[in-house]
């Protein structure tokens, strides 16, 4: 009986786990992920964590927070006017704007307008190329949420509304596959997407490390490099060991030795920090070029070996937050720093793009002002980012022996927050929309059941309806909340072992 079948480590699996922990670094016994692997199966079960086949190979989750409410009926489940008995009064499109893809259930919206709401920039977008390219690795699952508050809905799209003890998807992935990684969960999102879950039983390392400036953040990954006149690493090591000894013996240290803050500090300073520094992440994750305004060489620093390639893929990395986040996300996964990364636009305006605005105010929520234009613009922004990431991940080898690429082991989850209201003034092409619980989520991965829509859309209401998460059978008329199904679906598709979690069976999400 092996872990996969009964949740218990076989002797061979236990020995292998121990050997993996012992290899590599002398810090292995102290790394929290390795410590956990030395626990008994019973204690692991209590944590709710059971692994898939213990092959020691990680899988990766990229969460893209589509802040503001990304409407699935303005993208892959768009409704043509000719299909709807109530076309004029609902969010339906002229037929020509909703393109079909042969052999695929997905739609692709084409949209043009001379302005984006009150902002005088043109919007010309077409989702067709994306759908054609990625349909076989796309899954759209319809959904009904439980909140139209931005922050709450964002968080619930990550927790399934507390489906698994309140932990987020990112935390669950960090727990399953982040063992030994220095920062298993890095979060560049904002609002509810950046909140940690409420499962305090998780190891500290599972919780998201916040990053707000992805381009400059790597400068903070070494305690002395890049500082003019810094002493050698040997001297730094002496300083640290002296400091640690003084802290331990001082009255202050002895008085507060039981303080949670100091215990956490000791682990972060004594275990996580050396691990981060040993990986030379101040170089590997730094895509800044050497310029007079960024004098890396003068301060003894270098750009990442991947720097030029990423600057080409994301040329606006320094001014467009999402591009900078995506570049860092790729590197975090490539260098096995993280198992889960979160990124996404925020509500601030970002300058850039071909017409001067890379991100409109409120991101998708500009739909209050101009629904069609806002949705088209922002979907294009998200899909372009996804496309660039997939391209990079496909080109990045994961395992030379098996020929797997990084993409083979990655799932991208576009957390759409919530939907938008459907009514419009009769025949209006420019209108605003409010928040709505009814929507759908997008996932991309070789691990998901590709070219698949779970659920469907009623063209006469433009509301999505649900599905059986186990079989995938559509359930017309089902409009009740299914947040736990989506949560379970992401983890099921990734192959996480969920026995003991209480999550619903979401086999329909997983590629056979």
């Amino acid at each position: 009986m092996t872990l996969k079948t009964n949740g218990r480590l076989s002797r061979r699996e236990m020995l292998r786990a121990l050997s993996l922990c012992a290899a590599g670094t002398t810090l292995a016994p102290f790394l929290s992920g390795c410590r956990d692997a030395l626990q008994t199966p019973e204690s692991l079960e209590k944590l709710g964590r059971k692994r898939d086949a213990l092959d020691g190979k990680p899988k990766f989750l990229i969460v893209i927070g589509a802040a503001g409410g990304a409407s699935i009926v303005d993208s892959f489940l768009a409704v043509r006017q000719s299909e709807s008995a109530n076309a004029a009064g609902l969010n339906t499109f002229p037929d020509a704007q909703v393109q079909a893809v042969a052999g695929s259930p997905f739609r692709a919206v084409k949209y043009s307008n001379s302005r984006l709401g009150s902002i005088n920039i043109p919007v010309n977008t077409d989702q067709l190329a994306f759908v054609k390219k990625h349909a076989n690795e796309m899954l759209v699952a319809t959904s009904v949420g439980t909140s139209v508050n931005h922050g709450i809905a964002q968080k619930r799209s990550l927790t399934g509304n507390a489906a698994w003890k309140g932990r987020t998807l990112q935390e669950a992935v960090a727990l399953q596959w982040g063992s030994g990684m220095p920062l298993p969960n890095v979060n560049m999102g904002n609002g509810g997407y950046a909140e940690r879950g409420t499962d305090d039983s998780l190891p500290l390392s599972c919780f998201g490390e916040p990053v707000v400036n992805p381009s400059l953040w790597p400068l903070g990954l070494d305690g002395s490099r890049g500082i003019a006149g810094a002493p050698s690493k040997d001297v730094i090591a002496l300083a640290r060991s002296t400091r640690d000894a003084l802290d331990q013996k001082s009255i202050f240290g002895r008085t507060f030795q039981d303080s949670g803050a100091l215990k956490r500090w000791s682990e972060q300073r004594g275990v996580q920090q050396p691990k981060l520094e040993s990986l030379d992440l101040i170089t590997k994750l730094n895509i800044l070029p050497d310029l007079p305004s960024i004098p890396l060489t003068k301060y003894g620093l270098e750009s990442s070996p991947d720097g030029a390639r990423l600057r080409e893929a994301f040329p606006a990395f320094f001014t467009d937050p999402v591009q900078g986040q995506a570049a860092l996300a790729f590197l975090l996964l490539k260098y096995r720093v993280s198992a889960s990364v979160t990124l996404g636009p925020d509500f601030n305006v970002a300058v850039g793009g071909p017409n001067g605005i890379a991100n409109p105010p409120l991101a998708f929520d500009i739909s209050h002002n101009d629904h069609r234009g806002g949705q088209a613009f922002m979907w294009a922004r998200i899909l372009n980012t996804v496309d660039s990431l997939i391209t990079l991940l496909k080109a990045e080898p994961f395992d030379a022996a098996t020929g797997e690429s990084m993409w083979d082991r990655t799932l991208i989850y576009v957390a759409t927050e919530f939907g938008r209201t459907r009514p419009r003034a009769s025949g209006a092409t420019e209108f605003g929309s409010g928040h709505d619980l009814n929507n759908g989520f997008l996932m991309l991965s070789p691990m998901v059941k590709g070219n698949t829509v779970l659920g469907g859309v009623d063209p006469n209401t433009t509301l999505t309806y649900g599905f059986d998460a186990r079989t995938g059978a559509p359930q017309p008329g089902k409009v009740t909340s299914n947040e736990p199904d989506i949560f379970s679906g992401v983890l099921t598709a990734m192959g996480a072992d969920l026995s003991g979690s209480g999550l619903p069976d979401a086999s329909a999400f997983k590629r056979a």
Binding site: I119, T146, S147, N149, G151, I152, N161, A162, G166, D200, I251, F252, T255, F256, F347, N348, V349, A350, V351, P361, H368, N369, T421, A425, G432, G434, S481
Partner: protein, 475 residues
């Protein structure tokens, strides 16, 4: 619109009975009130009532404590229970599991309730009431330690630690009374500092989650790319209300504005008009009607639920999205804007949220005539919306109390226990480092009650109380 008194037992929602039993059990907003009737001295009931998350994960899904209660709630009666049946059954159900230990943390349920920890959360435990003894040459552990407080106070309010010399001289003051008096004197000095009250200072830090700035759409000083409104006015009013001899309630009730000027010192001055503000004096309610609030929280919407809920959350500490502060109003929600909020899973919160929002109906956000009070706004600016929209009244309800307009809303809010609790909680988090814990509850209640009464809502006087608590000053 006459409304019945707020006794939970008299809140009947006949509509629920008509829904039949095809839907799962709905949330019961009468629960918190019935809970507090059973445990009136519980910390969760001191000036407030427990959130629905006391028994639920997210209603109707129950946590361990709620699940333990359920079998004892009118056993045998068909589900869902009516509000009246639920409220009548809850006390007996609570008593039935009073001696059990639902979360297995070693403390019986009733003991946890009375001590202020959560009976459904194993990580929330009652205060041990025991503080270890022993000697310590540097810290007075478990007791108020003036040296510890002096260092902490200077760091918190002035932004820098005292120097070695300052500490030495402080200790030489001798008696604890003199030391405490000196600390009070230094606190008054630091409360004038830019670190505390200046631009981007500590008071502004308290205000950030309330105002929720978005830099790229700011107008005026440090303006953004698409200037829409100036939130520095909101920070100015907030800082003004929290300083000197000013009434903290002005942040909600002020009919004036505040200008900031200078640095070291920064000064805040009341003003009757500002070029960046457009609501006339008779319609103003502090930061509730600022240009920034109307722009960012009313925005383009007809019925500004987001604005109302954000003010409720920010200034009363009640987050409806987390099922806090629910005071369902009978026959609500009326769903004037046809958003489908009468559905059972929505009505549980919208029965509070919608009447809370009605007084905002004439305050415009973005669009034509932005950031102004416009009589008959819905009729004029939303002519193509559903016909029932224009029936939205301006009268509303907050904390179970009817109000005629937003200014009355602001006064009821500002005079509530919730406002005092929320204000003191803000500073507790800022200065103690966390929300009040069960063992700090007694000091916390004393502090916010004094803030309301003895100190007449003067934050600076309250801060003198706060730094004298053991929560702040015992290492």
């Amino acid at each position: 619109m006459p409304l019945p008194p707020t006794s939970p037992s008299r809140w009947l929602l006949p509509g629920l009975l008509l829904l039949g039993f095809s839907t799962p059990a709905v949330a019961m907003p009468t629960g918190p009130g019935a809970f507090c009737a059973e445990y009136p001295t519980a910390p969760a009931c001191q000036g407030t009532q427990p959130a629905c998350t006391y028994c639920h994960v997210a209603p109707p899904q129950r946590n361990g404590f709620g699940a333990a209660l359920e079998p004892h709630l009118a056993p045998g009666k068909p589900r869902p229970l009516s509000d009246a049946d639920f409220a009548a059954a809850l006390p007996a159900a609570l008593r039935a599991i009073a001696t059990a230990d639902t979360d297995g943390d070693g403390a019986p349920n009733q003991f946890e309730v009375e001590q202020g920890s959560l009976p459904g959360d194993a990580t929330s435990v009652p205060p041990s009431g025991v503080c270890g003894g022993g000697e310590n040459p540097q810290f007075k552990v478990c007791q108020y330690d003036p040296r510890f407080v002096y260092r902490r106070m200077l760091s918190d309010f002035c932004g820098t630690s005292p120097t070695y010399a300052q500490v030495a001289t402080f200790l030489e003051l001798g008696s604890e009374d003199k030391q405490r008096a000196f600390i009070d004197q230094e606190l008054d000095r630091c409360l004038q500092s830019d670190f505390w009250r200046g631009k981007h200072g500590q008071l502004w830090k308290v205000a950030h989650p309330k105002i929720r700035p978005v830099g790229s759409v700011k107008s005026g000083e440090d303006g953004g790319i698409i200037p829409l409104a100036d939130y520095y006015d909101d920070y100015a009013l907030f800082a003004w209300s929290q300083t000197d001899d000013h009434d903290a309630r002005d942040v909600l009730t002020a009919s004036f504005f505040v200008k900031r000027s200078g640095t070291s010192p920064t000064t805040y001055t009341a003003a009757n008009t500002l070029s960046s503000q457009f609501v006339e004096a008779s319609r103003r309610a502090g930061n509730m009607t600022s240009a920034w609030t109307l722009t960012s929280f009313v925005m383009f919407t007809a019925l500004p639920r987001n604005a109302a809920s954000q003010m409720y959350r920010a200034y009363l500490g009640l987050d409806i999205a987390k099922q806090e502060g629910l005071h369902s109003v009978p026959n609500e929600p009326r769903d004037y804007d046809a958003k489908g909020v009468q559905a059972p899973q929505c009505a549980a919160c919208h029965a509070t949220l919608d009447p809370l929002s009605y007084p905002y109906r004439n305050y415009n956000g973005l669009g034509g005539l932005p950031n102004r009070y416009i009589p008959n706004r819905l009729e004029l600016l939303f002519p193509n919306e559903v016909a029932t929209l224009k029936n939205t009244p301006e009268q509303g309800v907050i904390l179970g109390q009817p109000v005629n307009n937003l200014m009355e809303w602001a006064r009821v809010a500002a005079n509530s226990d919730a406002f005092a609790i929320s204000t003191v909680t803000d500073y507790w988090k800022l200065l103690v480092g966390h929300a009040p814990s069960p063992e700090e509850n007694e000091e916390f209640v004393r502090t916010w009650q004094a803030f309301r009464t003895t100190h007449a809502y003067r934050v600076q006087k309250m801060l003198h109380d706060l730094i004298r608590t053991e929560a702040y000053g015992a290492p």
